[in-house]
């Protein structure tokens, strides 16, 4: 199993709950906005703690309420591409890319920086600050930063949003490459039905 996620998270009167087991490399998580898709990604990344449940990715248990297991976010090796990118505003693109790479163990770095830069076409951006980047450029840097941190799996929150048609297509191709060549488990949040159909082997609806 790549993704085994069963969790419950309460915010006030509302509740997000999900039961998901997928052995597809790329699993899509869909649902109306506000259904808690990002909440699920945050829980898998360890950025928030579910009230109950169990999370395992590629055989490694990251969270288990019943057994008191809660792996720290920095130990989970999640390559999280946030919907709002969250580049570090005080660091240039090069430093943003290097942030996770420097923290990863050498044996965990499975992709070279030059390869990522070429793949994403961000070579011209390295000396710039995030505030000067367009939406699409920002997103590509965020993907590169996540890939370079030596992740065991990827969490992609609307990675194609705010990209123009050509860039979105290139991003889809990149995701397909990662899926087919690297076999890295990916959980993709998207609201685009056609995109999901094309990329994901399994679609899970959150309601």
């Amino acid at each position: 199993m790549f993704f085994e996620v069963s969790l419950r998270y309460d915010f006030g009167p509302r509740q997000v709950s999900l039961d998901l087991a997928s052995d597809n490399v790329l699993t899509a998580l869909v649902g109306v906005s506000g259904a808690g898709k990002t909440t699920v990604l945050n829980a898998i990344a360890g950025l928030l703690q579910p009230d109950a449940g169990r999370i395992a990715v590629a055989g490694e248990v990251l969270f288990d309420a019943a057994h008191g297991i809660n792996v720290k976010p920095e130990k989970r090796r999640a390559g999280y591409v946030f919907q709002d990118a969250r580049l570090f505003p005080h660091m240039k693109v090069a430093a943003n890319l290097a942030y996770g790479e420097k923290l990863a163990r050498v044996e965990d770095r499975w992709i070279a920086r030059d390869r990522v830069i070429e793949l994403l076409g961000i070579g011209d951006l390295l000396g710039r600050y995030p505030a000067t980047l367009s939406g699409g450029e920002t997103r590509r840097v965020a993907v590169g930063r996540a890939l370079l941190s030596g992740p065991r799996f990827l969490l992609l929150d609307e990675p194609m949003a705010s990209l123009d048609a050509a860039r979105a297509e290139r991003m889809r191709e990149l995701i397909e490459n990662i899926r087919d060549e690297l076999g890295l488990p990916m959980l993709l949040v998207s609201h685009d039905g056609r995109e999901v159909e094309r990329l994901a082997g399994r679609v899970v609806t959150l309601d």
């Binding site: 990344a45 920095e74 989970r76 090796r77 005080h90 996540a146």
Partner: protein, 230 residues
């Protein structure tokens, strides 16, 4: 311009304020971080305690310092026996009084700029493999740097103007604890010192104004145009 004695007063004031700010900086930042980022029982009480020197009569703050750090006070007696350090009637005592009085203003400025740092950036750093501490050092601390500088300037301005707690705790000793405000006060007691009082007062106003302007500019830079500490 200024006489040698007046320059000495200015020099002492700057020394006392500088030491007070450096002394308070790490404490104020720690408190600001706690108040900005943590939710715990007693938070409101801590917040009130930090702000107490802002509202309590300074002479009371000086009296409390005298009780605690005086020769017979629990901390003062220990400092004297363990390190041979005496704070009362000493410029270091003036620095301590100024530090306590500057603390609330410094905490306010720093807290504001820590709150302005997007917590989600810290989450991003954690997911990239940064420990809590590494994320603090590489994200929160550098992004709140303008607030630290603003707090330091504000604390410096407050320290320069400190009077009540200083005269109560460290007394008014020429060349030792007689800072600008105390020198102005002493000048007012003497006949014929009007010109000296005026010179020292103008220096006080200029130094304070500069520190205030710089700190306000720094906070606006870090926390946005709408933010202010005054």
């Amino acid at each position: 311009m200024l006489t040698d004695a007046e320059w000495a007063v200015v020099g002492l004031s700057l020394k006392v304020s500088l030491v007070a700010v450096l002394l308070t900086l790490p404490v104020a930042y720690g408190l600001a971080w706690l108040l900005a980022r943590r939710r715990f029982p007693g938070l409101i009480a801590l917040d009130a305690l930090v702000h107490l020197p802002l509202v309590v009569p300074p002479v009371v703050t000086g009296w409390v310092l005298l009780i605690a750090f005086g020769r017979n006070g629990p901390i003062g007696a220990w400092l004297e026996s363990a390190f041979g350090v005496t704070l009362v009637f000493n410029w270091t005592g003036a620095a301590l009084a100024a530090a306590v009085m500057a603390l609330p203003l410094m905490v306010r400025a720093m807290r504001l700029s820590i709150e302005a740092v997007d917590r989600r950036l810290v989450g991003a750093a954690r997911s990239l493999g940064a420990s809590r501490w590494h994320a603090f050092l590489t994200i929160t601390l550098p992004l709140s740097l303008p607030g630290i500088a603003a707090g330091a300037m504000l604390g410096f301005a407050r320290s320069l103007g400190e009077f009540g707690a200083t005269i109560t705790f460290a007394s008014n000793i020429a060349g030792e604890t007689r800072t600008l405000p105390l020198a102005i006060y002493s000048g007012l007691q003497l006949p014929g010192a009007e010109a000296q009082v005026a010179r020292l007062a103008i220096i006080s106003i200029v130094l304070s104004l500069l520190a205030l302007l710089v700190s306000e500019l720094l906070v606006r830079r870090s926390a946005g145009r709408q933010a202010h500490v005054l």
